[in-house]
C-alpha cells in the first residue's frame, strides 16, 4: 500500500545542514496499523508530513497504492489528524464533520456523530468542547472522509490518561470495522504497542529508521493486555532501544577549532574524570585549553586522529595495540582505567560457561571492544571464533535482541549491560570482574610528532587526570558529568563501581599489554611483538 524508499529530509540552518530524516525505507501493507515512535526531535512528525504530501520538499520516493505520492494526492486525499485539535473554530461540530464528505446525507453524519458520542454536542463550536471531544470531531471527520489511508500525528498527546485509553479503544474498533491503513506517530510507547501491528523506531541521532518491531499481540486488544508478559517484554525492548538511541544522540560529534588541544573521548563512564575536569574548570586551572570531542565509535576515531581532527584520542588498549602496529607514528601516552565488571558476556538460562557458547548465537558489535573481548575469551578457553555464531548488531540493539530471544548470548557493556540484565533476566557467563579477564583498559594515544612538539600538553593532561582522580568521590556524584554523558546520575554511580582508574602504568597493565599482543600475534592480527618502549611514550 505504502512504499517508502530512501526518504531524506534536510534543513539548512545557520549552523549548517541538518539531516532530519536519513535514508528511510519501509513498507506498509493495506489495512495495516503502523506506529512510529522515537524520542522528541527524531523527526517523526516531519516523516508524517513527507508521507502525507503536506511537505513535498523531501528526497526519496513515496509510493501509495502503486502511484507516486504527488500523483496519488492529485486524485485522492488522505485523512490527517494532528496533535493540535484541527477543526475550523467557526463551524459547529456538525459542520466540521460534514466537511469530510459534503455529499454525505444527514443520516450518515448523524450515525458517525453518534458512534463517537458527539451527537448531543453537534451544534456546539469546537471551542466549547474538551480536548478529547475535539479530537473525536477530527476522527469523525476522517471517518466520513473515508480515505484508504489515515495519518495520525500524536493525536492524543494532550489528553488525560482515561480519555486517551477510551479513544484508543474506540479508534481500534473503528479500524477493525473499516480496515483502513493507518500510520500513527506517537511518543507514547504503551500507545504504540497497544494500537499497532508494527512499531517503527526512529533514531534521534541520525534520523534513520532504527528498528522495526512486530507486535504479535492478539486482537481485539484490551486494556488488560498492557499487563501481559508479552506486552511488557515488547515495551522493555522498545524503551531500551529508544534509551540507547538518546544516549547515542548525546554522543554526536562536535566540530572544534584547531588551536587548542582536541581531546577525542569515547563517551562512557570511564571518561567521567575528564568530564568532571571540564565541568570544574580543572583544564583552565592547569592552563590547557581543551575541547572534548565526544564520539561513540572506535572505528572512525582513528581517522580523526590521523587526519588531525583530534590531537589526543581515547581508545581501548586492544585497539591501541593494533593502531600502533599499523601506524608506527602513534604511541600510547596515558593509561586511564580498566573495566572491573563493566563488560560481560551474558546469556539466556542454560548457558553457564564460556564453553557452553559453542554453536550458539552471540550478539556483538563488530570492531568494538566487545568483539575483542569475545574473541579473547574464546581464545583463552581454547575455542575458535567459528565455534560461535556471531550476530553483528549495534551496541544499543544487542540488549533488545537478547531480550527478544533473537540471540542466545550477548557481549555487552555498561550502561547497556546493567539495563539488559535488569530487563531480560540473563545471567553473566564471564565478566571483567574476574582477574584473568581484566584485559579491557582505556588509554590515550597520539602521534609521536605531537608528543615531540607539545610536551607540555601531555604533561598537563597527565596532571589534569591526576587531579580529577583526587576528587574521585565527587565526580561520581556530579550531576553535570551524568548529563554530559546523556545518562542518569544513578547509572553513572553504578557504572563507577565497575571501573578502576589508573594513575600510572601498573604491573597488571603491562601484563595485559603482553597478553593482548600475544593473542593478536597468535591470531595473526599482528606479525611481531613490540616492546613497551615502542608502544608507550616515556616507558623505561
Amino acid at each position: 500500500m505504502i512504499e517508502v524508499t530512501g526518504l531524506k529530509k534536510t534543513y539548512d540552518s545557520e549552523s549548517g545542514r541538518r539531516v532530519v530524516l536519513n535514508d528511510i525505507s519501509f513498507r506498509v501493507k493495506k489495512g495495516e496499523f503502523v506506529c512510529i515512535v522515537g524520542s522528541s526531535g527524531s523527526g517523526k512528525s516531519t516523516l508524517l508530513r513527507c508521507l502525507s504530501g503536506m511537505d513535498t520538499d523531501c528526497e526519496g520516493e513515496v509510493r501509495i497504492d502503486g502511484e507516486t505520492r504527488d500523483r496519488y494526492f492529485s486524485q485522492k486525499s488522505a485523512g490527517f489528524v494532528s496533535q493540535e485539535y484541527s477543526n475550523f473554530p467557526w463551524l459547529t461540530v456538525w459542520q466540521n464533520v460534514q466537511l469530510g464528505n459534503l455529499q454525505a446525507d444527514e443520516g450518515l453524519i448523524s450515525s458517525t456523530l453518534k458512534q463517537l458520542g458527539l451527537f448531543s454536542v453537534r451544534d456546539y463550536f469546537p471551542g466549547q468542547l474538551s480536548g478529547g471531544m475535539r479530537q473525536r470531531v477530527a476522527i469523525a471527520r476522517v471517518l466520513l472522509q473515508n480515505t484508504e489511508v489515515i495519518f495520525f500525528d500524536e493525536p492524543f498527546g494532550a489528553l488525560d490518561v482515561q480519555t486517551r485509553a477510551q479513544i484508543q479503544e474506540q479508534l481500534l474498533d473503528l479500524w477493525r470495522q473499516q480496515q483502513k491503513t493507518i500510520i500513527f506517530v506517537t511518543h507514547d510507547i504503551d500507545e504504540a504497542i497497544f494500537l499497532a501491528d508494527r512499531v517503527l523506531i526512529l533514531s534521534a541521532d541520525t534520523g534513520a529508521l532504527q528498528q522495526e518491531i512486530v507486535v504479535n499481540l492478539p486482537r481485539p486488544r484490551t486494556t488488560e493486555m498492557v499487563f501481559s508478559p508479552a506486552f511488557v517484554r515488547l515495551k522493555k525492548s522498545i524503551v531500551y532501544t529508544i534509551r540507547a538511541e538518546s544516549i547515542k544522540a548525546s554522543l554526536r560529534k562536535e566540530k572544534t577549532k584547531a588551536e587548542v588541544c582536541n581531546l577525542g573521548l569515547f563517551i562512557w563512564s570511564g571518561n567521567a574524570p575528564w568530564y568532571y575536569a571540564h565541568d570544574q574548570g580543572i583544564f583552565e586551572k592547569k592552563g590547557l585549553e581543551t575541547h572534548l570531542v565526544s564520539t561513540d565509535s572506535n572505528v572512525g576515531n582513528l581517522e580523526m586522529l590521523l587526519g588531525d581532527e583530534v590531537d589526543v584520542l581515547n581508545v581501548t588498549l586492544d585497539y591501541a595495540v593494533r593502531a600502533v602496529h599499523e601506524h608506527p607514528e602513534l604511541q600510547i601516552v596515558l593509561p586511564l582505567n580498566y573495566s572491573h565488571g563493566g563488560d560481560a558476556i551474558i546469556a539466556q538460562p542454560g548457558i553457564e560457561r564460556v564453553q557452553d557458547l559453542k554453536g550458539r548465537k552471540v550478539g556483538i558489535e563488530r570492531e568494538a571492544v566487545s568483539h575483542f573481548f569475545l574473541r579473547y575469551l574464546l581464545h583463552a578457553h581454547h575455542l575458535s571464533p567459528d565455534d560461535v555464531q556471531e550476530v553483528s548488531l549495534l551496541g544499543g540493539d544487542i540488549g533488545s535482541a537478547l531480550i527478544r530471544g533473537d540471540v542466545d548470548a550477548a557481549v555487552l557493556w555498561d550502561p547497556w549491560l546493567s539495563k539488559a540484565i535488569e530487563l531480560s533476566g540473563a545471567k553473566i557467563v564471564a565478566s571483567t570482574k574476574e582477574k584473568e579477564n581484566q584485559i579491557l583498559y582505556d588509554v590515550l594515544i597520539t602521534k609521536k610528532s605531537y608528543i615531540r612538539d607539545h610536551k607540555d600538553v601531555i604533561q598537563k593532561l597527565n596532571a589534569i587526570w591526576g587531579e580529577a582522580l583526587l576528587h574521585g568521590a565527587r565526580f561520581k556524584t556530579n550531576t553535570s558529568v551524568a548529563s554530559m554523558m546523556g545518562i542518569s546520575q544513578k547509572e553513572v554511580e553504578m557504572a563507577m563501581q565497575k571501573i578502576r582508574f589508573l594513575k600510572s602504568y601498573t604491573r597488571e597493565f603491562l601484563s595485559a599489554l603482553k597478553k593482548i599482543q600475544a593473542f593478536y600475534f597468535q591470531e595473526g592480527v599482528i606479525d611481531s611483538v613490540l616492546d613497551e618502549k615502542t608502544l608507550i611514550s616515556g616507558a623505561k
Binding site: 477543526n87 473554530p89 467557526w90 463550536f125
Partner: protein, 252 residues
C-alpha cells in the same frame, strides 16, 4: 440597580459634574463666551442648526463620503491582499508602491485630488480612499499571514480546491477584518474633516469652517460634539455586533 447600570455610574456622575462646572464657569464670566459658550448657548445653537439650517443633510453627506470611500477601499483591498499573499510575484510588484504611498501625509494630496476630481464628491472620496486603502491592505496581509498553518494542513487533507482555500483564508481572517474595519473607519473620519475644511460646500467640516468664519463658536462646538457622538455610535454598533457575527470567538 443592575450590574450594567452600576458600571456606568462613574461616567454619568463625572459628566454631570463636568456640565455643572461648565455652567458655573460661563455663568460667573470666568471665560469669555467667545471661547467657551454656556450650555444654554450650545443648546440654542443645536436647535438652530438642526431646525433652521440643513445640518442633518450635512451629517448625511459626511457619512456618505466616509462610507463610500471606506467600502471602496475594502472591496479593492481584500482581493488584492489575497492575491499578494498567494502569489509572491504580485506582492513583490505592488508592495513598494503601497509602502511609498502609505507614508505620504494625506492632506498633502488635497490639491491633486481637487485637480483630478474637481470640487465635487469625487475628490473627497478619492482622498479618503487613499487615506484608508493603503493602511487597510497591509493590515489584511498581516492577518492572512497569521492564519494558523493547521487550517491549511486540514484543507490539504480534505482535498480543498484552490478556490476553496481562498475562501478559507477569507473566512479565517473575518474577525480580524471586522476589527480592522473599525479602526480604519476612525481614520476615515479624521481625513474627512481635513478634506471638508479645505474645500467643500457641505458636510460637517464645512459647517465648522463656516461657523468659524462668522465667529459662531457655539456652532463649532456643536459640530465637534456631533462628530464625537457619530464616532461613538458607530464604534458601539461595531462592538455590539461582534458577538452576533462571531459567536464562536468567545470560546477561543
Amino acid at each position: 440597580m443592575n450590574k450594567k447600570q452600576r458600571a456606568n455610574w462613574p461616567f454619568l456622575v463625572s459628566l454631570l459634574f463636568f456640565i455643572c462646572v461648565w455652567w458655573w464657569v460661563t455663568r460667573a464670566g470666568l471665560i469669555d463666551s467667545l471661547f467657551l459658550p454656556s450650555p444654554s448657548q450650545i443648546w440654542l445653537a443645536t436647535l438652530d442648526l438642526f431646525v433652521q439650517k440643513e445640518f442633518l443633510s450635512d451629517i448625511g453627506i459626511s457619512v456618505f463620503r466616509v462610507f463610500s470611500a471606506f467600502i471602496l477601499a475594502f472591496v479593492i483591498a481584500i482581493p488584492l491582499a489575497l492575491l499578494m499573499t498567494e502569489f509572491a510575484f504580485v506582492k513583490r510588484l505592488l508592495e513598494p508602491y503601497i509602502d511609498f504611498i502609505r507614508y505620504l501625509p494625506v492632506p498633502a494630496l488635497i490639491p491633486l485630488t481637487i485637480l483630478f476630481f474637481g470640487l465635487g464628491e469625487g475628490s473627497k472620496i478619492a482622498l479618503l480612499f487613499i487615506g484608508t486603502f493603503f493602511q487597510l491592505i497591509l493590515l489584511v496581509i498581516d492577518d492572512i499571514y497569521t492564519i494558523p498553518s493547521r487550517y491549511f494542513d486540514l484543507s490539504f487533507s480534505l482535498g480543498f480546491s484552490r478556490m476553496r482555500v481562498r475562501v478559507l483564508r477569507l473566512r479565517a481572517i473575518l474577525p480580524e477584518l471586522y476589527n480592522n474595519a473599525r479602526i480604519t473607519l476612525g481614520w476615515a473620519w479624521t481625513y474627512l474633516v481635513i478634506a471638508e475644511l479645505v474645500a467643500a460646500q457641505a458636510g460637517i467640516g464645512h459647517v465648522i469652517k463656516e461657523a468659524q468664519r462668522f465667529s459662531n463658536t457655539e456652532k463649532v462646538y456643536v459640530a465637534i460634539l456631533t462628530l464625537g457622538i457619530i464616532g461613538l455610535v458607530i464604534d458601539q454598533v461595531f462592538k455590539r455586533l461582534y458577538p452576533v457575527f462571531f459567536p464562536y470567538r468567545k470560546y477561543d
